[in-house]
């Protein structure tokens, strides 16, 4: 069908925008009522619309990268089990299978077919990170997927509008906070209903009998835009690898990127096997991270939909740490998965030098357990960021998270929560990778256990062995270090912080961009002034006389 004839740029802008607006509105309603802090503060959710053929045409704009491209896979598995022609109005299908979804079981997908009278016109879906899914909780401690909680088969939560109470009871019996978990599930269910209703109203307003023609136009324009961005990049095969810490082991992530004409293929052949901890990455997550990286480099402003993925193919060897299959656990798949983004951008740096940033220092995640001064039990997770990588014409920003994006907890909120006293939170000079545009500085955080009780510290740090590398002759940043008083601790493991002891977290710098010899004296002086370099560091890292 020739879509250009009937839908012009004005219609397409308005109708496309409206569909995205419907998903945004659905997501906003879900965020507002969600019991999960990750959903509330990190937008760990998404809402989507598909056409009758199961093609994803609109996705809420604000969501974390893991949801890029995963939902179409989820829907196709749902439709394999419950073919579209067997669905009836009022059906609601759910799944939290990490293999078909986003790589861990916290994310529950809720799907509803949209019927215009008896005619199936599309699907609405909401996916949110539940407050709990049983098992060992949100940690990397599992050694098998069975430890990680409730893995539901794809099933119907509602059949023709009738709730399956057994499914709800099954979930309630398996989670720690059943009220909150079912609260979030029903919020997703009503979200899909509202989205479906708005889609039907939209179709009536624009007198559409089906979404197919509009979907064709949306997907074609998107695909065209992505391909034209790809065509503008030089062809070639680009290879790269990176070593990562994997709980006492080291794993190599290997990738080959083949960019030909208007397509790109990313193959992780050669990547090492899974490990016995919940940091293995199921394939949908790997693919989402690749799509995210390529989107940043080619077409950051294009809305997410299935058209944006047609020109991009992703492969990873089955059973590798980037294509984990049960029984390998994966609750903390982000710990390894976050390295995919810098691996892709570093690999493509030579053909899009002006669009990449060097690797960043990434996030530090420390979980603390013990008691507050008043004896009440305490558990808290502390996030802090290393420096961001330098880029063409742009110094790396200090202390800015890469790949993932959890924000800081203010000290004035953190202290009453934990009973720790933070004595210092300052820039870590000389930690940014030297470069013409240096990597951003990391930070030094010192906290004292003032609770009067011993405190357990669970560290999930990376970059303690392998720093953020520079690009184009830029140098690597400093590595991450954890200290208790005078003793250096392992970055990945558990230890005790006795009352009065100091925990010191040294956050890594970002990688530098370009030859440090090209950094001017004036710039180096300013780096000293701004606390990014010490005079000694300027001398040793830049041979700056001062």
């Amino acid at each position: 069908m020739n879509t250009q004839r009937t839908i012009d740029a004005v219609d397409l802008s308005i109708m496309w925008n409206r569909l995205i607006s419907i998903t945004d509105e659905g997501a906003a309603a879900l965020v507002r009522t969600s019991f999960s802090t990750l959903v509330r503060e990190g937008y760990d959710l998404t809402v989507l619309i598909f056409d009758a053929a199961g093609r994803m045409i609109a996705q809420s704009a604000k969501c974390i990268p893991v949801f890029i491209g995963t939902a179409p896979t989820t829907l196709s598995h749902m439709l394999r089990k419950y073919p579209a022609d067997t669905l009836v109005p009022g059906d609601v299908v759910i799944s939290n299978d990490p293999m078909y979804g986003t790589g861990h079981m916290f994310d529950l997908a809720v799907m509803r077919p949209i019927f215009d009278n008896e005619l199936l016109v599309g699907f609405s879906m909401g996916i949110t990170h539940l407050p709990d899914i049983g098992g060992m909780g949100f940690s990397v401690s599992a050694t098998e997927i069975y430890h990680e909680g409730l893995r539901l088969p794809i099933c119907k939560l509602y059949k023709a509008g009738m709730l399956d109470h057994d499914v709800i009871e099954l979930i309630e019996l398996n989670v720690r906070v059943p009220e909150q978990v079912t609260g979030d599930i029903f919020a997703s269910v009503s979200c899909t209903e509202v989205v479906a209703r708005h889609v039907l109203e939209f179709m009536r307003e624009y007198q559409l009998d089906s979404l197919t023609e509009l979907a064709d136009a949306i997907l074609t324009s998107t695909d065209d835009a992505v391909r034209s961005a790809l065509r503008a990049m030089p062809d070639g095969v680009f290879r790269n690898e990176v070593q990562v810490e994997a709980l006492g082991e080291v794993r190599k992530l290997v990738c080959a990127i083949n960019k030909t004409g208007d397509t790109i293929e990313v193959d992780f052949e050669g990547t090492g096997p899974c490990v016995g901890a919940g940091i293995n990455v199921p394939f949908p997550y790997t693919r989402a991270m690749v799509l995210y990286a390529i989107k940043c480099l080619t077409s950051p402003n294009i809305p997410n939909n299935e058209g944006a993925m047609r020109a991009i193919e992703v492969k990873a060897p089955l059973g590798s740490i980037l294509n984990a299959i049960p029984p390998s656990p994966s609750a903390g798949r982000h710990a390894i998965g976050h390295f995919i983004f810098p691996l892709i951008t570093d690999t493509l740096a030579e053909i899009v030098p002006d669009r990449v940033a060097a690797s960043s220092g990434l996030l530090d995640i420390v979980t603390l357990q013990g008691f507050r001064r008043d004896g009440s039990p305490m558990a808290a997770t502390y996030f802090c960021a290393g420096g961001f990588g330098g880029a063409e014409g742009l110094d790396g920003h200090p202390t800015l998270p890469g790949s993932s994006n959890m924000g800081r907890t203010p000290i004035e909120v953190f202290e009453p929560l934990t009973g720790l006293t933070v004595l210092e939170k300052s820039l870590r000079p000389d930690s940014g990778g030297p470069g013409r545009y240096p990597g951003g500085a990391g930070q030094t955080i010192v906290m004292r256990n003032d609770t009067g009780y011993p405190m357990r510290v669970y560290a999930m740090a990376n970059r303690t062995l392998f720093p953020a590398d520079g690009v184009f002759e830029g140098k690597a940043g400093a590595v991450r270090e954890h200290w208790v008083d005078g003793e250096k601790m392992s970055g990945q493991g558990a230890y005790t912080l006795a009352p009065g002891q100091h925990l010191k977290l040294l956050q890594p710098g970002g990688g530098g961009f370009g030859d440090p010899a090209l950094r001017t004296s004036a710039q180096i002086e300013q780096d000293i002034e701004r606390g990014f370099l010490t005079p000694e560091g300027a001398k040793s890292l830049y041979s700056h006389a001062g």
Partner: protein, 694 residues
């Protein structure tokens, strides 16, 4: 207590004046060019002009209410004072470390607003409190003195921000430091974080405190010039400045808290909308304003505008949320989107038309201004579609050039997409409407506000052209067009009342909260807010007090605001709190939990009585001649074509008269557009009230 009053709003291009005498329901307006080099000059000249035009003696003016974008511009252009900062040892780099979160996940080149205080002007101070306000490390006064002397003598600071950890729980160290600074340098402007906004969250509180100190010297100088100038022409009344939260502040409050003057202009339109809601008993209302660079929407429930206590000023990167300065001030909660009259239209990488957020501003402005602007803007589209009268823009003060508008649209959109002119112009207009609708839907949904059952009030120069169509997209059934939409920011101020609000952190499990403790907390906050109003000359018995608690289920990360029933005793208030909380919680979550409650904060606001409601319209004495001016060719897609659209003179429409869409209703600074199926009726206040067709 409210006699002859004058509202003055300094905009980028014009300074607007609106005068009202509540006793006899009389109003007048005046408009003149802003004098950017010295804004107070246009104010003084305008006061003199509007008084003489209306034969009012300046000494008869009881009050002048004033709104200014001085602080907003100073933060954007970085024109404030050289400012120093004293900060708890260990935390000098708080601003450089920042929020540790990216506001755009897809852009690897995002940038953040540089700190207002250079790192060399920040000095660490030996002192430390815990979150309960206990002293962990005593304030080292010698060390403090040395730092202050260095900042003033070597760094030449003019203002000082004192920012210590947990000072919201105990202001003692900050106060002592301020005392020492004032002893050493009596002319130094000093702001302490516990005074500016005593709320936990050091990064935002300190940013706010620095912004406050940074603005103090210029606000002081500006107000002095204004006060002197007004005194010189014989003004003896009250001078008030409208604050971001919608309340009026005295000059001394403004000097102490200049950061609260941010965003004062837009607040006035919302005040007008809120007063309409109150007067017409409308429970849910959307206040919509479309100006030169942005469109804004605010929600009003039962006459109270939604407020928030965080505000981002001076975006530093591509107009993006997250790139600006993160401040804590009471502010009317507005959705803002880069779709204004000057917003530039273009074709994006998907081959779609986009409008804004880049703006041609007022200079060179839209192509049709004929000032050399080449961009096709929303105003160019509205002119091409026939919605604006080229000869009657701003009441004929400015001539528009339709050919320049068409050429710009042809060049930027038409040729690129092979689209005929009218279709392209319609695309710009409709896409702006869709973008605004989308922003409002999100804003309302995030706040649990049912916009489909609400009423819209349209103000701003461009609001009335777009309101009916946006309402239609949102399924909002009714739009109210107050008269004088284009001068509403000056007039709305006259409907506001003096008020002052404080927000304080206080965390405590509800079951351990004794009535006496609650009493102390309330009394303490109430004393502070009342004090500001008493000092401004408001009689004690006239001050009304509004107190709210932030509450949550213990362990949840989300606060719910609960208004205290102040007519009850403290014991009874505590007794009903759980039920009030559950009611508010149920509205958000549709359920309640079996968990203990805690309070996390306290808000107290003192308010003076509001002036009587009045409008700029309602000329019952209008001559009975027909308001129909004639017709103009305008594009109405619901008719599928250009129609001969009736054009009415707003000033000749009498209460009770109705007009049917499609039609245009013109006044000097704005035009109301009603579409097919819409029907407008003039009410007794002179508002045009349109029922929107479906």
């Amino acid at each position: 207590m409210y006699g002859m009053r004058l509202g003055v709003d300094i905009g980028g291009t014009f300074t607007d004046f609106a005068m009202a005498d509540a006793n006899r329901g009389w109003t007048a307006v005046h408009k003149r060019l802003t004098t950017p080099d010295e804004p107070s000059r246009a104010v003084i000249e305008g006061v003199r002009a509007i008084c003489s035009e209306n034969t009012i003696a300046i000494p008869d003016l009881a009050e002048i209410v004033h709104g200014t974008t001085l602080i907003t511009n100073a933060l954007i252009e970085r024109r404030g004072a050289r400012t120093g900062m004293l900060v708890t040892k260990g935390f000098r780099d708080t601003f450089d470390i920042g929020q540790e979160q990216r506001y755009d996940l897809y852009d690897l080149r995002i940038q953040f607003a540089p700190p207002l205080v250079e790192r060399r002007c920040r000095a660490e101070v030996i002192e430390r409190l815990d979150h309960e306000g206990n002293v962990l490390v005593e304030l080292d006064e010698d060390d403090l003195r040395t730092s202050i002397v260095r900042l003033v003598e070597d760094e030449k600071i003019e203002a000082l921000a004192i920012c210590f950890l947990h000072s919201y729980a105990n202001p003692q160290h900050e106060s002592r430091a301020a005392e020492i600074a004032r002893e050493l340098y009596p002319n130094l402007f000093v702001s302490t974080s516990a005074d500016v906004f005593p709320y936990a969250r050091e990064y935002e509180r300190w940013t706010t405190t620095c912004a406050n100190a940074y603005s103090q010297p210029m606000v002081d100088a500006y107000l002095r010039k204004l006060e002197d100038g007004l005194a010189a022409i014989g003004f003896t009344g009250n001078l008030s400045i409208i604050a971001s939260g919608g309340g009026l502040m005295s000059p001394s409050m403004a000097r102490r808290y200049p950061v609260r003057l941010l965003e004062s202009g837009p607040a006035a339109g919302v005040i007008m909308a809120a007063r309409i809601a109150e007067e017409l008993k409308i429970d849910g209302l959307i206040a919509f304003d479309l100006g030169g660079t942005t469109a804004k929407g605010a929600l009003v429930r039962n006459g109270e505008p939604f407020k928030k206590y965080t505000f981002e000023a001076a975006h530093a990167y591509k107009h993006k949320t997250g790139s600006g300065l993160q401040l804590q001030i009471p502010v009317i909660d507005m959705a803002e989107i880069g779709s204004g009259g000057g917003s530039i239209a273009g074709v994006d990488e998907l081959g779609l038309i986009r409008v804004g957020p880049r703006s041609a501003s007022s200079s060179p402005g839209p192509a049709c201004y004929g000032l050399g602007g080449e961009y096709a803007t929303l105003t160019d589209a509205n002119l091409t579609l026939g919605y604006l009268d080229a000869g009657f823009f701003l009441g004929g003060k400015m001539k528009l050039e339709p050919t320049l508008a068409s050429e710009a649209i042809e060049g930027v959109i038409g040729q690129k997409l092979g689209m005929e002119l009218l279709r392209a112009a319609w695309g710009i207009h409709d896409i702006a409407n869709e973008d605004i609708s989308r922003a409002f839907r999100m804003h309302a949904t995030e706040r649990g506000f049912d916009y489909r059952r609400s009423t819209m009030v349209a103000t701003g120069g461009g609001g009335p052209i777009h309101a009916a169509r946006i309402a239609r997209k949102l399924k909002v059934p009714r739009v109210i067009y107050p008269a004088g939409a284009g001068v509403m920011s000056a007039f709305g101020m006259l409907l506001g009342a003096a008020s002052f609000e404080v927000v304080r952190s206080h965390s405590q499990p509800l079951e351990t909260l004794e009535p006496s403790k609650l009493g102390d907390l309330l009394a303490d906050a109430a004393d502070e807010v009342r004090k500001h109003l008493l000092t401004a000359g408001i009689a004690a018995e006239a001050i009304e007090l509004d107190c709210r608690l932030d509450m949550r289920y213990r362990g949840q990360g989300y606060d719910i605001e609960v208004r205290l029933p102040m007519h009850l005793s403290l014991e009874e208030q505590l007794k009903v709190l759980p039920a009030l909380f559950e009611e508010a919680y149920r509205e958000v979550f549709h359920t309640t939990l079996e968990q203990p409650l805690e309070i996390t904060g306290l808000k107290a606001e003192a308010r003076a009585p509001k002036p009587g409601f009045m409008t700029l319209g309602g000329r019952a004495d209008a001559t009975p001649e027909s308001a129909l001016k004639g017709t103009r060719k305008a594009y109405f897609p619901l008719a599928g074509r250009i129609v001969d659209c009736p054009v009415y003179d707003r000033y000749l429409l009498r209460p009770g008269e109705t007009v049917d869409g499609p039609c245009l209703v013109e006044e000097r600074e704005s035009t109301c557009l009603l579409d097919f199926g819409d029907r407008g009726t003039v009410d007794t206040y002179g508002n045009l009230v349109a029922e929107i067709g479906v």
